[in-house]
């Protein structure tokens, strides 16, 4: 008997004392077992690359309505009227991705890459950082750069767009320098493991850095400080063919997030339809009877086989069922199609989407050369651009078993030989041609640059040489959104559930609380 109680007592008492002494160790179970708190440097990369390509597509739904890439099937929606959705995060996916999807991840990756002397990964990180500021400032104007990514703060002051532009140039220059290094732990295999775009190829990343630099510098076109030679020099160090295009594939294996945002399974585009503006650029209306072979490969016909567009903000009312353009998956419905429906062009589940393309850069070069007065260079680049984009359309259309056929070389030659498209003499090349072909080449995916281009020409500026509108056939809706006071959109308001709710004080300093803030011209498009 005594023995039992003795044991009980010993157990109890030692138990009691034991818990007293080793408490701290016992309680140290706060390492989250569900997820790591730090990972190998290259593991941060893939999600950020994904968003670099994909985030612009989210916002493209709205920007594409300003630029009349497409319009809503519902008449008079806010974005079609150059407005915005109050109290909504629509049009601010980039805001989320630059500050959160990249955000601290990019800081951590770059810090690790630098500490581990992975100069190639650091260069890629700097390109990502530059891309973020570039895209974000182009969409929103003033953004938070200096004070960004600091969870201990709760008021974040905005920086000027000029500062953001210079920061992009600084980052790209640094990236180019880092990508040139071969010392330290530079390792194409390590980078290539998670590099969804160039599989670790430093040379191609360097080209992308120059490409972004060219894009940045060309945006100064309205300013006295514009230097077309610098733009051309940067383009020449960037992509040399479609093989350099910065493309990312969507594998479509984990369900939703790794499928092309524009594809049928994601079902984001069912209420969008092409506009007469893009149709008329392709169907011979604007370019005297020359039907672009890309029209039937990029756009969607109506059930009767004719290619039409819905006038921006007009809705579907004017059409009979057989004349109403189909959606971009060539279906009449405004409902999402069943999963894995066959798509068209870039509107397909597994179709690659670009960050930048060779064609795009050639048009940048053409514009810069044209402005410089070097029309020979401009024409050559312009031709390269058209040819490269026709090849781009073909390349995309076979990636995911899409329905359109390939553009034959005969079709391509016929198109490129039409003088309405490619003038025989360099002197006959017009700004309208360059910008409209660039528009076509960027249609459907290159929203940020397209909108930047159109804002630089204030949507409806005329080419001083010809007196014709630079964007042939672009027409504003008759009445704009009620807050606009008749002015078109020049920026998207910063993300509502970030800035308008939680950072209002800083926003008010830059005038962001004004109801027509979205019509205020950004610094870069001003002279």
């Amino acid at each position: 008997m005594e023995k039992i109680m003795k044991y009980i007592y010993i157990t109890l008492l030692t138990g009691f004392l034991f818990t007293l002494s080793s408490c701290k160790k016992y309680l140290d179970v706060n390492t989250n077992p569900n997820a790591p708190q730090t990972v190998t440097a290259n593991l941060y990369l893939s999600p950020m690359l994904h968003w670099m390509v994909t985030a612009p597509q989210y916002d493209g739904r709205f920007i594409g309505r300003y630029t009349q890439n497409w319009t809503s099937t519902t008449a008079g929606t806010t974005w079609d009227l150059q407005g915005y959705d109050p109290a909504s995060d629509n049009g601010a996916e980039l805001w989320r991705d630059v500050y959160w999807s990249l955000g601290q991840n990019l800081v951590d990756m770059n810090t690790k890459a630098e500490a581990e002397q992975r100069w190639d990964l650091l260069g890629v990180g700097q390109i990502l950082k530059a891309w973020g500021w570039q895209s974000l400032t182009d969409v929103h104007g003033e953004i938070i750069v200096k004070e960004a990514i600091d969870p201990t703060k709760y008021l974040f002051n905005y920086d000027s767009q000029e500062y953001a532009y210079l920061e992009v140039q600084r980052l790209l220059t640094a990236a180019i320098a880092n990508l040139a290094r071969t010392d330290g732990a530079v390792d194409a295999a390590f980078l290539g493991k998670t590099d969804l775009i160039y599989k670790g190829d430093r040379a191609k990343w360097t080209k992308l850095a120059y490409a972004m630099l060219a894009l940045n510098l060309n945006h100064y076109s309205n300013k006295a400080s514009y230097k077309p030679d610098d733009v051309i020099a940067a383009v020449d160090k960037s992509f040399t063919s479609n093989a350099d295009d910065a493309l990312m594939a969507y594998p479509g294996v984990t369900g939703n997030d790794d499928r092309n945002f524009l594809g049928p399974t994601r079902g984001n585009m069912q209420t969008y339809r092409q506009t007469p503006f893009i149709v008329n650029l392709l169907n011979g209306t604007q370019f005297t009877g020359v039907v672009d072979p890309r029209m039937t490969r990029m756009l969607a016909p109506a059930p009767d086989g004719v290619y039409r567009g819905i006038v921006t903000a007009a809705g579907t009312g004017a059409f009979t069922a057989s004349q109403l353009p189909n959606n971009f998956w060539n279906i009449a419905s405004i409902s999402a199609p069943a999963a894995n429906t066959q798509g068209r062009y870039i509107f397909s589940d597994k179709c690659k989407l670009p960050v930048m393309t060779y064609a795009q850069l050639q048009f940048i070069k053409a514009e810069a050369a044209f402005k410089k007065g070097d029309k020979e260079t401009a024409l050559a680049a312009y031709k390269n651009g058209i040819s490269a984009h026709i090849d781009f359309v073909n390349a995309r259309n076979i990636e995911d078993n899409q329905s359109p056929t390939q553009i034959t070389s005969a079709e391509k030659t016929a198109y490129m030989s039409a003088t309405a498209i490619v003038p025989a003499a360099a002197a006959d090349l017009t700004l309208t041609q360059i910008m409209c072909q660039k528009y076509i080449a960027q249609w459907g995916w290159g929203h940020l640059e397209t909108w930047m281009d159109m804002r630089r020409y204030h949507y409806t500026d005329a080419d001083p040489a010809t007196g014709k509108q630079v964007y042939l056939g672009y027409v504003f809706p008759t009445t704009l959104y009620s807050d606009n006071a008749g002015k078109p959109a020049y920026r998207i308001r910063p993300r509502y559930n970030s800035e308008y709710v939680w950072n209002r004080d800083a926003l008010s300093v830059i005038g962001g609380l004004a109801t027509d803030y979205h019509t205020k011209q950004t610094w870069i498009v001003q002279p």
Binding site: G255, T316, S335
Partner: protein, 1032 residues
């Protein structure tokens, strides 16, 4: 030191062993006015020797001649007798269920006389809970305890119920009390949908809206509950620590009564019917703005803004036909018996419930065993094991649930004919696109699935060691372990998963909580002639761990085979959550002449969820009780009062964070190529515990020979440094959500309990108990001076959410509400004639907190018959009738039938003059029939119904005990009774929806949750139970 202690104890035991030799055996019988009382506890004072009376009230106990025997039984005055030369001691106990000498259970399982308590607590008997025949005993508590509010998520079998005591104080964390069973905490989790893979993506997330799971307390068989005590404030719960900051519910389960073995069996059969059918208009058919509907003009959902139905249109009463009669059966069987040394109780129960919504059901099996043993003079054991197995099938809820589909379905179509000849989902419109058309309700309940199965074991081993008469040591070791398997299927043809080819979610939650508690109780000792003292020292250790393994699939190969093996795309997720707590605590009570009591407590909690340099914190409480009617100088008061007591208490209680709250982690991303990236929540290395300072004052008064009693409490609690989870900030932080200190809230209120015994004769007795509560919760500030904090899951309908803003109620709603001028008139857009809405979330003066609630229970007994009922009365509190708003936007609500009437919205034009002395009145008229945007864009604000009152007959029971004369002829059945119980029989309310007791989320959601947001929710059904009880 250890060695010395050991010797010291061994020495003590030798002395005890010596004492045993001189014991004598005492026998006797314990009776009351009503006859012998079984189950009376007889204790040798100051020792661990205990006996119990058997069925005939007789007992046997061994004691010494100079021992004092203490006879105690809940509801009776405790009596003490010195053994002396007697070997037979018969005792008559006096009923004293309402006096101050009633023995009650309080924190840490201490039993004290009511007079000693300085805080407010209330007891509900297990019988009263079981009598309501609720499957989830939580639902039986509404109205029975002042200050307790129970909200069931819906009227579907197995729906989760949340419970709050004294209102909502935490902005984002749990406001539910700690559940204690037989001295140790048990898990009352409602599975959070964040464990499901679907919640990883906003495209597929449930966000605790579309589904519901049972709160785990419902695993307890109500028939096993002996008594339930509600410790209301942090003062009462200061000894239970962090998790009791919102109060505690202390449950004692049944133990056997010594004596001849007894068998009892009871059953209950219930039929259930839905209380009301939602009403929809039958005048106007499909279409928009007076134009008949066709596929292209309908915007993804049926709209009823078309022309009037032609005469002779055939209608189907889909709504009425959909509901079925629910049926429930319950069987309880228990055995008990034992001697004064060892006793046992084994009970088993089976519940099988099918609800009024087709394919909703809940089944539960309980097996409980409890045994107490007196091993020897100084060691007593108490072991209980409770096994339960529950299976629950619920329909989907809210926006994807069947109710909205049922209402929206065209009345010109027979909804029950929901499949095509090929056995696939029949679509009425919109061509082939299955996600464009709301689910047919029959399709929804037959093809979509929420199934959960839980098997659980709760074990509790208690050892009480009494080394000396003045001290005992009590150790409890408990394990609460369960496996909860869940399956959610959104059928490939359903609207909610059409574009994904169907989704399947499985989540297996393996939870294992281990609790250890040591108490050293020092029995009452006289310090001086007038002052005595007793105390408790203790420590506890908790290791709470849950591991949820979840799988997800989409793209069903065979549309009707529900398995992860049948899908194209698969994803997995593991969620492990572990929290450890180590605590030390002490309590000391000083007793001055048995009428003045002062108790102080101190507790130290060390938690794993706070950064290690701040993980340990201390907090005190102090409480006093003054029985002024027992002060000799105030003897004259006895003419007025039967008794009178004043009490006061103060506590400062700490609270920790949720696990892993301060370090951000990387998530495995499902975007192209995979990889890692941070989750939404950012870091907060400075996280510290929050504290609630709370005080309460009260009085307990008895009048008219205790036929009338009053208990009144006022309290005030202020939480500072409150940890607000998932609060937002600018994305420039690099994160979307943060867990920050810095919220503060204040709760105050008054509670009144009035009891009376208006009639008391030999045959007839009438007892009344009224519980009144009025509570207020106010947000004083938010972290970082942010303007609003909300729990995102509550943003479940349009633009209304449970937003908290400084200066307003903790249960307010924010939304994109109408703007008003300085006189409160609506601002009207001067060009369109419609009201102007705010573009930011604003506080609109809405408050879901009721002004007051009353629970009124009456019990009548006449000879062998008894009738009892509980009325639940509420005044005030707002409810968002989102279902009605939904019906209005699609032209189905009855309030849209006057659509041909031209109207001008009363208000003033927003023309710059709106805030002047003479604003321009609105004069823009329109006819909604031609302009259905009047309805389709109506503000949700118009459907927040203000000041909702109700009177609800929660339950009513009539029972009849068969008289002994009838049973005399046989020896088999010793007692028998029959009963009829009605649940939720009537509801009188000014609420226009189905049921104002709703929660748009589940009980898993923190803060004020979505209680009072009614969107596609099924109401509590009317139930009628019949059953018998037999004792063998």
């Amino acid at each position: 030191m250890k060695k010395k202690l050991l010797l010291f104890f061994i020495g003590t035991f030798l002395l005890l062993a010596h004492a045993i030799a001189q014991q004598i055996t005492v026998t006797g019988r314990v009776t009351s006015e009503d006859g012998p009382i079984p189950g009376v506890s007889i204790r040798v004072k100051g020792s661990n020797v205990v006996a119990q009376t058997g069925a005939e009230g007789s007992y046997t106990i061994k004691a010494l001649r100079n021992d004092v025997l203490v006879f105690s039984f809940v509801g009776y005055t405790t009596i003490e007798r010195t053994v002396g030369a007697n070997t037979t001691i018969n005792v008559a106990l006096k009923s004293d269920s309402k006096g101050l000498d009633e023995v009650v259970i309080t924190a840490l399982g201490n039993t004290v006389k009511k007079r000693e308590l300085g805080t407010s607590q209330q007891t509900v008997s297990g019988a009263a809970i079981a009598e309501t025949q609720r499957e989830n005993f939580i639902n039986a508590l509404q109205g029975r305890v002042a200050g307790v509010e129970v909200t069931s998520s819906s009227g579907v079998p197995g729906a989760s119920s949340s419970i709050t005591i004294r209102g909502v104080s935490s902005i984002s964390g749990s406001n539910q009390p700690l559940m204690i069973v037989d001295g140790l905490p048990i898990d009352n989790k409602t599975l959070n949908t964040s464990a499901f893979v679907s919640d990883a993506s906003s495209n597929t997330a449930f966000s605790n809206r579309g589904v519901d799971f049972t709160n785990r307390s419902a695993d307890i068989n109500p028939e096993d509950i002996e008594s339930l005590v509600v410790l209301k404030g942090p003062e009462a719960a200061a000894l239970y620590g962090i998790d009791a900051a919102n109060g505690a519910i202390v449950i004692t389960t049944k133990r056997a009564k010594a004596g001849a073995g007894a068998v009892s069996y009871s059953n209950s059969f219930r039929v259930e019917a839905t209380r009301t059918y939602p009403e929809i208009q039958k005048q106007y058919g499909l279409g928009g703005s007076g134009v008949p509907g066709s596929v292209s003009t309908l915007n993804n959902i049926y709209q009823y803004f078309g022309p009037a139905y032609p005469d002779g249109t055939q209608f189907y009463d889909n709504v009425k036909d959909f509901f079925q009669t629910g049926f429930t059966q319950k069987h309880n069987l228990s055995f008990e018996g034992g001697s004064d040394k060892v006793n046992y109780r084994i009970s088993s129960a089976y519940t099988d419930q099918s609800g009024v919504v087709p394919n909703s059901d809940y089944q539960r099996i309980n097996l409980t065993g409890a045994s107490q043993g007196i091993v020897n003079n100084w060691l007593k054991t108490d072991l209980s094991m409770n096994y339960s197995y529950a299976v629950n099938d619920q329909p989907l809820k809210g926006s994807i649930g069947p109710l909205l589909g049922l209402l929206a379905w065209p009345q010109t179509d027979d909804a029950s004919n929901y499949l095509t000849a090929a056995g696939t989902r029949k679509l009425l419109a919109f061509g082939s696109a299955g996600n464009a058309e709301i689910d047919n309700p029959y399709f929804n309940v037959n093809k979509n699935i929420i199934n959960s199965k839980t098997s659980r074991i709760i074990s509790n081993l208690g050892l009480t060691i009494t080394p000396f008469r003045w001290v005992n040591i009590k150790t409890n070791i408990g394990m609460d372990s369960y496996t909860n398997q869940n399956l959610i299927v959104r059928h490939p043809e359903s609207a909610s998963a059409f574009s994904r080819g169907g989704t399947i979610d499985v989540a297996n939650d393996i939870t294992r909580n281990i609790n250890l508690q040591n108490l050293i109780n020092f029995n009452k000792q006289k310090l001086t002639k007038d002052i005595s003292f007793d105390a408790t020292l203790g420590n506890s250790l908790q290791n709470l761990k849950s591991n949820v393994d979840a799988g997800y699939g989409e793209g069903f190969l065979d549309p009707n085979f529900n398995s992860l093996n049948n899908v194209g795309t698969k994803l997995v997720r593991t969620s492990i959550s572990q929290r450890r707590l180590v605590s030390f605590f002490g309590r000391a009570t000083f007793d001055y002449k048995n009428y003045l009591f002062l108790t102080g407590t101190i507790r130290n909690d060390r938690t794993s969820t706070i950064p290690i340099d701040r993980y340990s914190f201390w907090y005190p409480s102090v409480q006093g009780s003054f029985v002024f009617t027992d002060v000799p100088a105030f003897k004259g008061l006895k003419n007025v009062f039967y008794y009178g007591k004043l009490r006061a208490a103060y506590a400062n209680v700490g609270k920790d964070a949720r696990p892993y709250a301060y370090v951000p982690t990387l998530e495995n991303k499902t975007t192209s190529g995979g990889g890692y990236g941070y989750g939404f929540t950012g870091p907060n290395p400075g996280l510290k515990p929050e504290f609630a300072k709370s005080y309460e004052f009260g009085a307990e008064l008895g009048f008219l020979n205790n036929r009338l009693g009053l208990d009144i409490t006022v309290y005030r609690k202020e939480t500072t440094d409150q940890i607000v989870n998932d609060i937002r900030s600018s994305y420039a932080t690099g994160f979307i959500l943060l867990n920050l200190n810095g919220g503060s809230t204040r709760n105050q209120g008054i509670e009144l309990t009035l009891r009376g015994n208006p009639v008391k004769t030999n045959d007839f007795n009438w007892d009344v108990l009224a519980n009144f509560e009025s509570a207020r919760g106010k947000v004083l500030s938010l972290p970082n001076a942010l303007p609003e904090s909300y729990v995102s899951d509550t943003w479940l309908y349009a633009n209304v959410r449970n937003g908290n803003t400084p200066g307003n109620s903790t249960r307010s709603l924010t939304g994109l509400f109408y703007l008003r001028n300085n006189q409160g008139q609506l601002l009207i857009n001067p060009t369109t004639g419609v009201p102007v809405r705010s573009t930011t979330f604003i506080e609109g003066g809405y408050d879901r907190q009721p002004d007051f609630t009353i629970g009124l229970s009456n019990t009548f007994t006449y000879k062998n018959m008894s009738l009892s009922f509980l009325l639940d009365i509420r005044k005030g509190g707002d409810v968002l009738n989102a279902t009605q708003h939904f019906l209005t936007t699609i032209g189905l609500a009855n309030n849209t039938v006057d659509r041909m009437t031209p109207r001008i919205i009363p208000g003033v034009l927003q023309d710059g003059r709106e805030n002047t002395a003479s604003p321009t009145p609105n004069n823009i008229a329109f006819v909604p029939y031609y302009q259905n945007t009047f309805y389709s864009t109506a503000s949700e604000e118009l459907f927040i119904e203000k000041d909702i009152n109700w009177i609800r007959l929660r339950d009513v029971t009539f029972s009849y005990k068969l008289p002994q004369t009838m049973l005399k002829k046989q020896n088999f059945v010793k007692s028998a009774s029959v009963f009829v119980t009605g649940t939720d029989l009537f509801l009188i309310t000014n609420y226009t929806g189905l049921d104002p007791v709703v929660n748009g989320n589940t009980a898993a959601v923190g803060g004020s949750g979505a209680s009072g947001i009614d969107y596609g929710n099924f109401p509590m059904p009317i139930g009628l139970n019949f059953g018998i009880k037999i004792g063998l």
